[in-house]
Amino acid sequence: MLRRLAPGAAVLLAVALAGCGGGSQKKAENPPAQPYSKRSTAPGVVARVTPADYRRPIADYRRYVRRRLGTLGAQVGVLRAAIARDDLSGARAAWMRADATYESIGAAYGAFGDLDAAVNGRPDGLPGGVHSQDFTGLHRVELALWERRSTHDAARPAADLARAVARMRAKMATLEIDPLEYSLRAHEILEDGIHLQLSGQASPWSGSALVALRAEVDGTRVVLDTLTPLISRRDASNALPQARRALRRLSTALTQLERGDGTLPRWDALSQRDRELVDGLAAGAAEQLAYVPELIDPRPARPAQRPFGESG
């Protein structure tokens, strides 16, 4: 699930710290070794992005999500059929595909609200953890199929999952994706992958972090594709091409980890070196993607503030 500080939090923190004391950038004795460019969205150069500019990208993305949810519905059907005939390995394979499909639409999670928890909820934060009645959805099925090796135990949560996916598909007609949130997802889907998948937290029983990460990389690319016309005109420092390059490196590394049959190994079965490679490339890509949202911030320009580190 995507989480983030409130959009203004970084600014608030900056203001709070600014009160701490008087560094002066102008009088700096040491030229900064890691300074930032002047903002690429400087007024008068290229117009600021407005929420209206997001109509087209978000419409395109909604079409993508609708297609993916159709796929997800079918995959959950296959999953339930395998469960019904007590085919554990078939059910596991179907689960993997369904989970990856859901991981590929990360920019819509927030818009789905509670339905997202019904499909993709995890036991963390629930009193009682895995035993909680509220623990349902993909990961409840995962627990049944891997930890408990039980198609029987998976039947009811899989039925619940199918209903939740159906509700999601029904909700598509009225789904509203907020432009600001959408811009942030370009960066944060991958942050999510690092935080939840590569930590082993999201899918501890199936060990499917690499499969999920691959889907998240694909999903990030879809978001970037829809936003490219907005980004490119404002991307003086080439953030987007560099982010795409970093994503390509990550994708290539994932492809090289594929086994003969095209499947990816369990995340917890990787050698330390391979794990470091994926961790390092994912972090490298996140570092690049972090520059993207601000280029296309749909909020009105904030009144000029004292730049941080400069005393008035």
Binding site: P31, P32, Y36
Partner: protein, 416 residues
């Protein structure tokens, strides 16, 4: 300097994107020899804003008096090619140069992208005796970057000794970054900065944080066994002694780029402190060979008194298998195995049996690991103390000579 600022940001991006060229950093003062380094470290203790020079014939953080805190962080290179590895190492030095000098932090403002500095030191980052010491593990010299022929002569993966219980995930590494400073937050700021600047090229492998006790007593700091530790260290002010013990010279068959460097051994040595605390003081002292109160060799009065083994040939006063006696028997033959220790204590949580995980991040420098550290280690094998200390991780590394000037970077001789 807004123009510089814009260029600098692009440079950082360019590195992260895999392109090599990183411009030179800030103009820098001078080339400091080891004596000057030590001297500046001394004065930094009284005037905390005086930086310890990053540049020098040798790297700082080796002879520099230990400040209160340290982080040892091992990385593996995931750089796709040699130029990317070189760019990452250059970035390490450039960032280290800025971090160790102190700087006006760029904390970020609306419209400026990700916050350039972590800001955890506030707008004004003072040097705080920070040193950044960079070293390479044997694995860096495998076939990935074509460096095999340039490997320092004595560099090899850390040996597994009979009393070790090594955890694979906390051993070895392509690059070791040793950070030392007075404040923990100074170290964390530096670590975050250095890792960020090398993201996508250096992946974290393991790390451990160490500390020393508040300087309350005279003499060597106490380890977590309660004993003064480091008393027998060679004098860092004795340049000739340092040349013998620490610095790699040009006449030992080492590659030219390695001259002025040193071999670094890092060992995470857990202390079984609960067990240790259930042992009588007298037994502890017989195992160590020192008085627990004063740190003096048993039967002597002061910490730095000679243990005088000649008058105790049978070990009546200091047992033959006491730690200090095995570690340094003070015979002419064994004096060539002296090492320069620079360890820190560590503490990090509980294990499954509910016991504290704490002990020593042992660190030592020498010109030849086998002749020095390993010779000591072999003498210590099976000592009574082994029941109370468990080496669980670490590695062997080679710390190259220092960056010569403001344009140079640690490792340039290897990779340039």
């Amino acid at each position: 300097m807004p123009g510089d600022a814009a260029g600098g940001r692009v440079r950082r991006r360019a590195f992260l994107g895999g392109a090599a060229a990183l411009g030179a950093g800030a103009a820098i003062d001078r080339v400091a020899g080891p004596r000057e380094q030590a001297a500046s470290a001394q004065s930094a203790t009284t005037a905390p804003s005086r930086p310890i020079a990053f540049e020098g014939v040798h790297q700082a953080g080796i002879l520099t008096p230990s400040p209160r805190h340290a982080i040892f962080a091992a990385f593996d290179s995931i750089a796709p090619g040699r130029a990317d590895l070189a760019a990452a190492l250059q970035a390490l030095s450039e960032r280290a140069r800025r971090l160790t000098r102190g700087y006006d932090a760029l904390l970020g403002a609306p419209g400026e992208g990700p916050t350039p500095d972590s800001g955890i030191l506030g707008p004004k980052a003072v040097p705080d005796d920070l040193t950044v010491t960079i070293a390479f593990g044997a694995s860096l010299f495998d076939d990935r970057y074509g460096l095999a022929a340039r490997k320092p002569r004595h560099l090899k993966p850390m040996t597994t000794f009979p009393d070790d219980a090594l955890v694979a995930e906390e051993c070895h590494g392509d690059v070791m970054v040793q950070l030392c400073a007075n404040g923990e937050q100074t170290l964390l700021n530096a670590l975050r900065d250095l890792m960020r600047a090398t993201r996508g090229a250096l992946a974290g492998r393991w790390k451990i944080e160490g500390f020393l006790p508040q300087p309350r007593e005279s003499g060597s700091p106490r380890n977590l066994l309660g004993f003064k530790d480091g008393t027998a260290n060679p004098a860092t002010a004795d340049a000739a002694e340092m040349d013998r013990v620490v610095w790699v010279a040009g006449d030992g068959g080492e590659p030219a780029w390695a001259v002025g460097g040193t071999y670094q051994v890092v060992r995470i040595i857990r202390n079984r402190v609960e067990f240790w605390d259930r042992v009588a003081r007298s037994e502890q002292e017989l195992m160590i060979g020192r008085d627990k109160g004063t740190g003096a060799p048993l039967g002597k009065r002061r910490e730095h008194d000679d243990p005088d083994y000649r008058t105790d040939p049978k070990g009546d006063r200091i047992p033959m298998d006491a730690h200090i006696r095995l570690a340094r028997p003070r015979t002419p033959e064994t004096e060539q195995s002296r090492i320069l220790r620079r360890g820190f204590n560590y503490s990090r949580g509980l294990d499954m049996s509910g016991q504290l995980d704490m002990g020593l991040v042992f660190c030592c420098f020498q010109t030849d690991v086998e002749r020095q550290f390993e010779a000591v280690q072999k003498r210590l094998a099976g000592e009574p103390l082994v029941d109370y200390v468990v080496p669980t991780g670490g590695g062997y590394f080679f710390a190259p000579p220092g960056a010569r000037d403001s344009e140079d970077w640690v490792g340039s001789g290897l990779l340039a």
